[in-house]
């Protein structure tokens, strides 16, 4: 609160400050939306929000706004909460008082899962994947998982528009007799599973299609699970005697992602998955008490016969290390290590001490991207890992490992800014790409603000190609093949240590 007040007071010292105003409209009907909470906050301080509740005319107005770049967001029950891409730039000669902000009603994907006889399949796992550009590549990210009701029905409500994929797994209810009756009843009862189905109700992952959901659309996706001969997977767990354990069995499915086939919780050391169709699977087990967690992972093939899998729970991995400045000298304050979980997309911030040391005593295993956050003039020059596998820019951390990380940072990151123009007029919300041809994974992108301006900070010295795209929402800017058409007209840029470059980009 005090900080917010501070910048409001700062605004008051100016004659009047600037004005950000406009109308909130329903993206479908273009009708004004009343009773919504619209907020504006400086781009660098998203927590310093000023709220405004729209009236019947859907109008909002923020007066006395200091010069700067702002993030505008709107939320209202019955609509998706939206943060608008591209900053609103307040300043002299900026027209920021007639903004039309669209807010979208939520979309819905719902449907029914039935078996070969058309009867509902309860407790099927319906998984929704979101296909989106993440760090410059189109990736499938697990968005949500739902279990079907006794009617076989499921619903994913409150969905933003987007490109979705769906996968459904399940098992016939009667395979449970495997547990009480073992192998004596007919295998059609105890050893039947369902193959995974993908939208639009196909068995082959290669034939899966995206479901392109528009704002406010109600889409239906029904699935039919067909019985296939299956095996029982008996998991024996060593360690973690009385602890509740979470078991997750996943199969390879859509490109770059896994499909959850079964999940469960069990306190004992044995867990049986019935009705598992032949295929390659990954098992993950996690046990926790109040303070600690243990993990186990295993990959195996399941064939026509029952399979025994033995896993040992291992302690959570730890990570420790240090960072040094390449040129020597003392480290700046507020430097932190960012670990980006490649599967969940979540990130973890690890504070770095004044002595350059950092440590996480226990963490979940996984694959992580390694970056540095803090003062913009510092950048991560290189890193190496002991007892952790480095694959490209990804750090693979496994159960019970004690990863030692060594980071080299350098001062002198560059700054690249400018304006995107078309026919001499600024273009708002255009995509600007700073491509790193030597290391495409390090390519970066940003969107222009309302005045057509863009800025990259913390740019490591090196050779880059800089270009703008009017509607680049689908551009895989970290894929050399995808950006090749733009490189011909791109500006070649060599960023020197601590260099600052201003480039006008014409579309």
């Amino acid at each position: 609160m005090p900080i917010l007040l501070a910048w409001l007071l700062a605004a008051g010292t100016q004659a009047s400050g600037y004005r950000i105003a406009g109308t909130l409209v329903n993206s479908l009907t273009r009708q004004p939306v009343a009773g919504a909470r619209v907020t504006v906050a400086p781009v660098e301080h998203p927590d310093q929000q000023i709220p405004f509740v729209t009236g019947q005319d859907g109008r909002f107005a923020f007066a006395g706004i200091p010069r700067g770049r702002y993030e505008l967001a709107a939320q209202r029950p019955g609509f998706l909460t939206e943060t608008f891409s591209g900053a609103i730039v307040a300043g002299p000669d900026q027209r920021t008082d007639a903004i039309v902000l669209p807010i979208s009603p939520p979309g819905l994907i719902a449907g029914k899962v039935v078996d070969e006889a058309g009867e509902p399949v309860a407790l099927a796992l319906v998984q929704l994947f979101d296909s989106a550009i993440v760090r410059g590549r189109r990736r499938l990210v697990s968005f949500a998982v739902k279990q079907t009701a006794d009617t076989g029905e499921y619903r994913f409500a409150a969905l933003p528009p987007g490109t979705y994929y769906l996968a459904v797994s399940g098992y016939p209810w009667y395979t449970k007799f495997n547990q009480t009756h073992g192998d004596s009843p007919p295998r059609a009862i105890t050893h039947t599973g369902y193959g995974i189905r993908y939208y639009p109700n196909v068995a082959d992952a290669a034939a899966a299609e995206p479901l392109n959901l528009k704002a406010g659309q109600d889409a239906t996706a029904d699935f039919t699970l067909l019985p296939v001969p299956a095996a029982t997977v008996q998991v024996h767990v060593e360690g973690g005697e009385d602890l509740a354990k979470q078991f997750k069995l996943a199969a390879a499915g859509l490109p770059g992602n896994r499909v959850l086939v079964r999940q469960g919780t069990e306190a004992g050391d044995l867990y049986n998955f019935w009705g598992i169709p032949p295929g390659h699977y990954t098992l993950r087990v996690r046990a926790s008490d109040a303070n600690r967690s243990w993990y186990a992972t295993d990959s195996f093939d399941v064939g026509a016969t029952d399979t025994d899998v033995n896993v040992a729970l291992l302690r959570a991995p730890s990570l420790a290390g240090s960072i040094v400045l390449e040129a020597g000298g003392s480290l700046p304050p507020n430097l932190s290590l960012q670990l980006l979980d490649t599967e969940s997309g979540g990130s973890q911030s690890v504070p770095i001490g004044a002595d350059g040391k950092f440590a996480i005593p226990a963490m979940a295993p996984g694959q992580f991207g390694v970056t540095l956050a803090g003062p913009v003039e510092y950048y991560l020059k290189a890193w190496s890992a002991e007892d952790g596998h480095r694959e490209g820019e990804t750090l693979d951390i496994q159960e019970s490992s004690a990863v030692r990380l060594k980071l080299w940072a350098a001062k002198g990151a560059g700054r690249v800014n400018g304006t995107v123009l078309r026919d001499g007029h600024p273009v708002a919300a255009a995509l600007v790409v700073l491509a790193d041809p030597a290391n495409p994974e390090n390519s970066r992108a940003t969107r222009t603000g309302s005045d057509g301006s863009y800025e990259f900070t913390g740019v490591p010295p090196g050779a880059y190609a800089l270009f703008g795209v009017a509607d680049g929402a689908d551009l895989e800017y970290a894929d050399p093949a995808a950006i090749r058409p733009y490189l011909g007209s791109a500006q070649k840029l060599r960023v020197s240590p601590a260099g600052a470059y201003t480039n006008r980009l014409d579309l």
Binding site: R37, Q75, R76, P77, G78, F79, L80, T81, P106, L108, A117, E119, P120, A122, A149, D150, T151, R155, A157, A158, W173, Y174, F177, T180, H181, S184, P185, P186, A188, I189, T190, D289, A290, N291
Partner: protein, 510 residues
């Protein structure tokens, strides 16, 4: 078909040999309400399993002669078994499956807008030691349409309640997260005492909508004292009936500072628990949430205490008398939805008592002694014959429980006759003193007649009912009053031998 000779051989052969396994069980699975055959039902015996065909028919073969339980199961129906004897084969087994019920409806706010993520609970009603016990049988949250669905509900009497809002979902963020509603039972009752049960009958789906009033909710802020920094911590908010409120909490194990969020106005008991089992630490405090946050709550945790004591025999004339042998039970008092289990113990060789694991709170005492009745029971100043509840205070060793056993009890022979011709003679029987004193209540099973010895002198009412042993709240004076016309009364004196006849009532609580 096996020959009669083979069948005879199978009957005589013991143990059963593989070659004897020549019989079949065949039959049909039907919907008990409509009589329609049920396809794709699983029928199992302990040895095998099969599925019914389109005509609901099933058949097992290769069975040795003998009696089997054939159990049928299908989603949406209650599993049911029948006993079938083969040798010769049978093809007329009929398994009737009762359809389970779906209870569904909507939760709407005061403006008739659907409320997403509201918690709806189905509560089963039974009794424990003759008092009503309400348990959450299943719980679901409403979807984006405000709809909920509880499938597979067996027939019975239930309470249904909208218990609270579970917080905002993806489509509904902060503007409303400081709102919640007070629990409401189906029918509109605000509390358990005035709630009307819903009767669920097989195959008859129940629609039950709720209208709730969202109010500004508040937080409770405070600090724990006497806490451990390493034990797992649970902070709960309980309603007046011991029902858990699903309020989210945060706790800082370093400072003891806690916060419970999104609490609708109302009366609560704030409870903090650390650890498990006998090692638990517990603190409780009643508080009222009104129109503002509740600040500066100090909740002191204390460990479980041990209640010691002894039962001695009063009229021990000479050394021949047996030592007292009593089962003792302390159950949490007052809260019919409490999930806390009763604590049980029994007297030692010389009548000594030691009941461990008692957390602070109010308890009801039950004592059942093999060779007499409790003539006097005190815990410090508390006369437990005059007062049913025993208070265990926080962090203090409770005064010893001193009880006196009299062996001059009376014997009461009860004969029961069914209300209608042909009804079963097996029933549940409660012998309840008119004084209401719970230490003198006797509860037993009755098969035509039963003899109850060691009955304390006094005036009694005798109740008998069929069906569930939990159907009658015999320890509740109001329930006894409602059933007074079906009770028999008897007066007993010391060393008396009385006979009393009672009619067996159909076991539905009034």
């Amino acid at each position: 078909m096996p020959s009669p000779l083979l069948a005879l051989a199978a009957l005589l052969a013991a143990p059963v040999l593989a070659g004897d396994a020549d019989f079949c069980i065949g039959g049909t699975v039907v919907n008990a309400l409509t009589g329609e055959p049920l396809a794709r039902a699983a029928v199992t015996t302990p040895q095998s399993a099969t599925m019914t065909d389109a005509a609901g028919a099933f058949r097992f073969c290769g069975l040795p002669a003998g009696a089997y339980y054939a159990n049928a199961e299908r989603p949406g129906f209650a599993p049911t078994g029948v006993r079938v004897t083969v040798g010769p084969s049978r093809d007329d087994a009929l398994i009737r499956l009762q359809p389970l019920t779906v209870v569904s409806g909507k939760v709407l706010d005061a403006d008739d807008r659907p409320l997403e993520n509201a918690l709806v609970q189905l509560l089963s009603i039974s009794t424990h030691d003759g008092r009503r016990k309400v348990k959450v049988q299943s719980a679901v949250t409403t979807d984006d349409r405000g709809e909920y669905r509880l499938a597979g509900v067996p027939p019975g009497r239930y309470l249904l309640r909208a218990a609270g809002w579970q917080g905002p979902t993806a489509s509904e963020k902060p503007p409303d997260s400081s709102r919640n509603f007070a629990p409401v039972y189906y029918g509109g009752a605000p509390d358990l005492a005035s709630a009307t049960p819903v009767t669920v009958e097989a195959g008859r789906d129940v629609g039950a909508d709720f209208s709730v009033t969202l109010e500004t909710s508040h937080s409770i802020h405070g600090k724990l004292a006497g806490f451990s920094a390493v034990l797992p911590t649970k902070i709960e908010l309980l309603g007046p009936e011991g029902d858990l409120n699903a309020a989210p909490f945060t706790f800082n194990a370093a400072t003891g500072v806690f916060q419970v969020g999104n609490v609708a106005p109302g009366s609560y008991i704030l409870r903090a628990t650390q650890g498990e089992g006998d090692q638990r630490l517990r603190g409780e405090q009643a508080l009222q949430v009104g129109s503002a946050d509740v600040d500066d709550v100090l909740l002191t945790l204390a460990g479980a205490v041990v209640l010691k004591g002894a039962v001695r025999t009063a009229d021990a004339t000479g050394s021949s008398s047996q030592p007292p042998s009593c089962a003792v039970q302390l159950s949490p008092a007052g809260a019919s939805m409490s999930e806390e289990a009763a604590i049980e113990s029994s007297t030692g060789d010389r009548g000594e008592l030691e009941i461990a694991g008692l957390l602070p709170g109010r308890y009801r005492l039950r004592m059942d002694c093999a060779n007499g009745y409790i003539a006097a029971a005190h815990a410090g100043e508390t006369d437990l014959l005059a007062q049913d509840e025993l208070l265990i205070s926080s962090g203090m060793a409770p005064p010893p429980l001193e009880a006196v056993l009299n062996t001059d009890g009376a014997t009461v022979d009860v004969t029961a006759s069914p209300e209608a011709e042909g009804e079963p003679l097996t029933a549940w029987l409660a012998l309840v003193p008119d004084s209401g004193n719970e230490l003198h209540i006797r509860f037993t099973i009755l098969k035509g007649k039963v003899s109850i010895s060691g009955v304390a002198p006094g005036d009694y009412h005798v109740f008998a009912w069929t069906g569930s042993p939990y159907a009658f709240e015999y320890a509740n004076p109001a329930a006894r009053q409602a059933w007074s016309d079906r009770a028999a009364s008897v007066h007993v004196a010391a060393r008396d031998h009385q006979s009393v006849a009672v009619k067996i009532a159909a076991g539905d609580s009034p």
